[in-house]
Every structure is written in C-alpha cells, then in structure tokens.
Symmetry: C3
Subunit: 338 residues, 3 copies
C-alpha cells in the first residue's frame, strides 16, 4: 500500500512545467494539507482508522487539492496557494464525510473506490469555480508558454503517473481484490492512451504531444469509480471513451470554454479530471450490478454542488489577497539564479 506514496510524489512532479513557483507551491500545498487532514481526522467526528489508511486518505485529499490548484496555477502569489490549501481541505473533508462516509445517512452507498468523483471531479470543479474570481482579462490574452523541453517533461510526468496510477487506485482495496483492480486500471489506461492518439490525429491532423500527455491518463481518472467491479473489457471501453472525450475537450472545447465562461484553466483540469471523473461516476451505474443508482446520482450531484459553491467562495476570498503582477512568471517572488 505504501506504494501510493510514490505515485503521489510524482503527481507533484507532473505540475512542474510552470517553473519554480509551481514546484514550491506543490511542495507547500502538500506540506500543509497532509498534517491538516490528519489532525482534523483526530477531532473525533470521523471514524477511527489505522495510521497508514489515514495517511493514504490524507494523500487523496492532497491530490485533489493539487488538481484544484492546477486550474489557477501561475496566476496567484505564493501566500494565496497557502490560503487555498487551508480553505480547500475542510470542504474536501466535508464532502468526503457526506458522500463516502454517508454521515447524514441521506446519500447511501456510493461506488467511488479510486476517487473519480470525490477526488478528481471535486478537485477539478473546485479549481474551475475558484478560477471565476481569479481570471482577469489579461490572463485570457497571455498565452501559456511551453517549449520542447517542457513538453517532453509533461509526457515523462504523465508516464510516471500512468505507471503509478494502479497503486493509487488499489491503495485501499481489500487485498484479494488488488490483482483485478490493478489489471483493470492498466487496461483502462491503455485504452485512453490509444484513444488519445487516434483522437488527436483525427481532430488536429497532426499529433499534439500535450493531448497525449494529458488524455492518456483520462482512463485512470474514469476507471476510479469502478476499478474493483468492472470486467476487463468494460475497463477497456471506459478507458477508450474517457481518452476520447478528454482529447476532444483539450482539442476543441478548451478554447471555447475560455471564451464563453471567461475562465482560464491553466492545466486543463476540467478536461482531464472534471469530465472524465463525472463520466467514471456515471459509468458505475451501467457497470456495477445491483448498484444503488439514486445514491450514485446523489453522490455525484452533491459533490458537484459542494465543489462549485466552495470553489466560488474560496476564489473570492483568495482574490481579496491580490494577484501576481506578472502572469506565469515567478521572478517577482524568487531570487534570480545565484
């Protein structure tokens, strides 16, 4: 189980393409959210659990926080990332308590082993909602720069995540279900990788390496809700669909979304985590025999609701603390190379 820690570490690495700020922010967000989650768990509201399980749950929370931060990366100051972390974790835990823990006994049993809904969709929607107050006219006009090295980095980061994804999903699965879960996650990832390539070529004519880097992982996001229940062919189908819709998102919808909603989603988290996460949650209804359909739909709806509301609120609060002077440039806060 401890293998999750590794995968998790590389999740941080993945966000590296915006330089020193992104790396430092990632480091700080993780360092704040882990102890915060674990100490809040000790307050008595929550079910008592083993230390390792609690650590893994804390890491799930940190992963969701990093996804949320991905939507506004590059446009806030370091102190604002810290505020984001402090505000995000309580909302995340509240949603987890209601949807997974069924604290108020009005949701029922939601299938979401690997966190398609409560980790990926929650984080993505929170981040996008927060971006509403944190996107200026200027942000929309400045292109997010990348170069060949940066692009290669993202594919490598994506590969690392790809390889570790199964351990992430299998971290809290009962030991006898681990082999089936691990194979399912790999198959879904294979599906989304192939689909990402095909969709990228069909839509754009040429391959966009950014599509591959991102959409290859969409299968992992989407299989989360059903990773221990789906058959292998179902896992393949879920992966292929997730890869395709994620690529369509990156290649077609992203620019439209920015123009219509006036939001810049720096890392494209809505296309990688948001839509595939919700798709994965809905797929459980088809895949899992005897699933409580209403509980599943309620769980998704509540997650969307809390994430958007909390994200809007937090975005507003964070925006009170100002804004980076130079978008996507960290020289205002970092020393030049010595």
């Amino acid at each position: 189980m401890a293998m999750l820690l590794i995968g998790f570490g590389f999740l941080m690495v993945f966000v590296r393409k915006y330089g020193r700020s992104a790396l430092t922010a990632t480091f700080l967000l993780v360092s704040i959210s882990l102890p915060m989650y674990m100490s809040m768990k000790g307050l008595g509201i929550f079910e008592a659990k083993g230390e390792i399980e609690q650590l893994i749950l804390a890491e799930f929370g940190a992963a969701s926080l990093l996804i949320a931060a991905g939507a506004i990366l590059g446009r806030i100051r370091m102190i604002q990332y810290i505020i984001l972390g402090l505000l995000f974790i309580p909302f995340y835990m509240f949603n987890e308590l209601i949807v997974i823990g069924d604290y108020f006994h009005f949701v029922g049993k939601v299938a979401d082993t690997g966190g398609s809904i409560v980790i990926h969709a929650f984080g993505a929607l929170f981040g996008i909602a927060a971006a509403v107050s944190l996107t200026t006219q200027e942000d929309m006009e400045i292109p997010i720069e990348s170069d060949a090295t940066t692009d290669k980095y993202s594919v490598l980061g994506s590969m690392v995540l790809w390889v570790f994804w199964p351990s992430f999903c299998a971290a809290l699965v009962p030991i006898e279900a681990i082999p089936h879960t691990v194979v399912n996650v790999f198959i879904a990832l294979c599906g989304s990788t192939i689909a990402a390539y095909v969709a990228s070529v069909l839509i754009r004519g040429k391959v966009s390496i950014a599509d591959i880097a991102n959409a290859a992982l969409a299968g992992g996001v989407a299989i989360g809700a059903t990773c221990d229940f789906a058959s292998h062919p179902q896992a393949m189908i879920i992966g292929v669909i997730a890869g395709a819709i994620s690529t369509i998102g990156f290649a077609i919808l992203q620019n439209k979304q920015q123009r219509i909603h006036k939001i810049v989603d720096t890392c494209g988290v809505s296309n990688l985590h948001g839509i595939p996460g919700i798709f994965g949650g809905l797929a459980a209804i088809v895949v899992i025999d005897g699933i409580d359909i209403y509980a599943q739909l309620k769980g998704i709806t509540i997650t969307v609701f809390i994430a958007v509301l909390a994200g809007l609120l937090c975005g507003k609060v964070i925006s009170l603390f100002g804004k980076t002077k130079d978008v996507y440039d960290d020289s205002a806060e970092f020393l030049a190379n010595e």
Copy 2:
C-alpha cells in the same frame, strides 16, 4: 512484485532521447502490447495463471518489444510502430511458449528467470533483423544527434533502470529466493558499472558518458538467466564481463557493424541487450549445477532463429508502409509547440 510495474515504467523513460515521437511510440507500444498479450493468453493455448503474474508476463513482452523498437527508433512513422507492436507480440509469445513453456516438449528446461534470452536477446535480435529492411543509405550518413542535456537524461534513465532492475528480475522468483536474487542482480550491476568505466577509459582515453549510461546495465541483462542460482562472486564476474563486452561493443564494434551489415541500430540494442543476453544465457551452463546443457543451447538457438526470421519478415512488412521523410525529426507528425 508490483514493484516491477515501476521499473517497467522507467524503461519507457529511458528511450526518451529521440523526443516526442519516441515518447509517443513508447506509450502506444505499451498500450497495445499489454492488452494484446493478456487477451491472447486467454485463448486457451496457454497455462492458466494468476492475474498479476499474467500482467508481469505481459510487461516482460512489452519490455522486449521496446528493446526491438530501440533498434529502428527514429526512422519509421507512428503508424509503423503500431504495426510493429501488433506483429511482434505473437512471435514473442510463440518463442516464449516453445522455449520457456516447452510446449512441443522438444526443448527441455531452459534457465532464464530474468529473461536474458527470451526478453533481451529476442528483442534485440528481432529489432536488428527488422532494421535490415528499414535502414537506408541516407540513415547511415546522418549522425544521431545528442547534446549535453540529452546525455544527462540517459544517465539518469540508466540509473533509474539500474535501481529497478532487481525487482524486474525477482518479479516471478519464489518468495524465499527473492533476497539472494536481488543481491545477485545488484552485484552484477555494480560489476558492469565498474567495468564500463574502466573499459571506456582504456579504449577511448576519455570517458564516454554514453558508454556508462548503456554498459552499466549490461550486468543486469546478463545475470538474468542465472540470477537465482549464481553465487555472489559469480554474479560479480558475470557483471564485469558483460560490462566489458558491452563497452567494447559500443566503442569499437558499433561503427564496424554499421558499415559491414548496412544496419543502423539507433539505440545500440545489440550491444546492450543482444550480446550480453546471449552471454548470460551461455553463462548459465557454467554456473548452474546439473543444468540441461542441450536444453539451454537449444533454447538459445531457437530464440535466435525465431527472432531473426520474425524480425526480417516484420521489417519487410513494415517497410511496405513507407518511411519517415526526415530521419530523427518528428516535426512531420507532431504539431509545433503551441
């Protein structure tokens, strides 16, 4: 055992130095070969096995495929990589079935725990044979470019593989043999690393960082066949010899090979995987008490035979689909940086 997945992931990273095409090809080859291998295993010809064991065997196949692709990297189009994957896996499984599974009962018991013969030598020979039809006069005149950053990447990739190699070899070893196997593989890698340095200095006068990056791993390739049987001093000797012959291969033979056989072996897989793999398979004859010498020799011969024949055939088929316009340059198929 699941640790193998990680090592495997980094195997892909290792091939990164030819840019976006190499990364995308790696991603696609893995995504095609894993489900293909696993679904073919379900056809009934093969012995039934646990899901994790099957996944590991599928990854062994994918690793061998990546080795084969290393020989022709940079000179074919993306669609041709896909064809390579589709053609390679059946031949690989056929060879595995005959040599390891002893399907026709005419080989006997071959010692090849870590795949020196059926993974490394097979993949390398297949790749080189395929390169016969896929090397043009032009390829031989264009140097394969690398720069300081690229070189550092390969050493880092090599280090990652170095560290994960023992888990790769120990993945299917019985649990009580794991400690001895892991230590043996590390010792062999230490031996080949030291030998690579010494040989590089002796042959070239100065150190070639490419020699270090490659030949340091030769001990891991060669110890594969005997990793659970060799004593520690034997492991050291195998490692040192493998490191030395691999370095000699890179420093002296590679250019001659290209001129004589009219083949360009992009990643030098014959020197890293081919020769050390066969050496490792032969070393088993000396190292393992009571080994069936004829079975071992038959296993090696059959592997060489199938690999070369299948490689020649597949190279021919792949060459029917054309050729990249610009060798070692992926701008024809990839979008420029956005």
Copy 3:
C-alpha cells in the same frame, strides 16, 4: 523493505547538477561501496544478518558516502572518487560497529534508527573534513554555477527524496512500528518544508529555490534518530526546527563558513546533513523516555571524532593524487558529445 532501493537510487539523482562527472562519480561510488560493504561484512567480525538487511545496511553506507562526496564534488578527478570510496567504507563501518553495534561495550544503546548520527552527520563531517585538504584558493573564487533548468532539477530531485524518505527510515524498523514511523517522517518533512519557505522569505526577502530544495529535507535528516519513538506533534516540532536551522545555514552561515574555515562545501552538506543530523541525535534526549543520555552523547561525540579525523586523513591522501585542472568542468575527463 525493498522500497528503500528506490529511494536510494534517487538519492544519486539528486546530486546531478554538476553534470556528467557527478553522475559517473555517483554511479562508481555506489558500485564500489555496495559489494565492498557486503564482502567486509562476511569477514566474521560482524553479526550475521539476512541478505536483504545486509543490502540495506550497505545502502545506508553508500548513502553516507554520497553525502561525504557532496562536500568535495566538482574538485577532484574520477580516480580520486574511487579512492574516496575505498577509504570511506572501512571508517564508516568502524564507526557503525562502535556506535550502533556497541562492539567494545563502552558506548551503550544509542537511538539512531534512521541514521541521523551515523549516516548523515558522519558523512557530512567526513566530507567537510576531507575538504580541508581539497579546497584551493582558486576554488573559493570560482562561483558554483547553476541555471534555471538545474534549479528545477534539484527541486524535482528533492521531491523524489522527500517521498522516498519514509521508506528509507522505516527500512529496518519492526513491521508493527512501520506505520507510526512513516507518518512521523512525513510530518517532520512537512514541518521542514514549511519552515524552509518561511525562513527563506524572512531572511532573503524573496524565496531562494535552492533553500527550498535543500532545507525541505532537513526534517527527514533530523527525525531519523527518533522516527519510531517521537509523537506526531514532536515530529512536527523537530521538522520545523530542522528546516529553520538548515535554511539559516544555507542563507547566512554558508558564506561565512567558507571565509573563516577556508573550505568550500559544494553541496552544502554541513547545512543539510551535518547540523540537522546532530540536532536530531540530540533531540532524542528530550523525546525518548528512559533514553541512556550518556550513551547518546557518547555516540554523537565518537561519531564526530571519527568522522573528522578520518575525513582529514582521507582528504590528505586524496590530495596526493592531484587535482582537477578546471574546477566544476568535466571536459578534461569526458568526451565531447558525439
């Protein structure tokens, strides 16, 4: 337990910023020290142990050697690294034998599970003492160059180490103590990361990315001695203090140290491993109930004594073999890119 191997591999990666020489040196140091440690263990003086435990202890030794090498990196020739490795390991094992093995029965029981004292402080002090004979006037005038890419590499290397640190500390802990140990190490690392950021901003006005990359790990160094005994809040306090003193060391003391002691400590090992290591060893006196205070103090004193003496001696011996012509430039020993 085998997870330590991975963390260890990335420790090597961390040292990469001085290019091909650093990488090759790292490779060689590890390849020499592992078999040397293990074969010396077989001489009969030492307690017999399982093969994996012995491998892990050998890796602890290699880690300490890499720390020592960090202090003089970039200023010696390749052959001198090899001599360093050959000289270091016997002294390291001698210190380990006396302080941890209590061979002469005059130290008593020292608390140092994760090696704050015998791995980190020993390696750092050895390296700094060796630097006395290996620092020239010229070294002190030449700045150690880094650039934006290099800086990002170090943060990434630091993140990898951060994630693997808990498995390093927990590698030899009894299985029932692993969860508490792992959580403690993570908490200490969170503490030092936050402290490094805060201290860097307070001292320098802006964030130095090098401070973050280094001091974020100081909590891991310091918690080593008490990782299985400290409570979680104590782990947080130890982490915060270690991160703060390490950042103060990098930001304020490093330049003074160089001027006063006429030593250049290339990687700043005294601030990352030396001071936090000794602090961690001392913290055990406060943290662990019923600890043998005199044994702990004796253990630290003996380690400091042996490390400094052995380091001075080895530095002298190594200096007899000459010096690199061009400091921090490896073109004298490496072929240009082919």
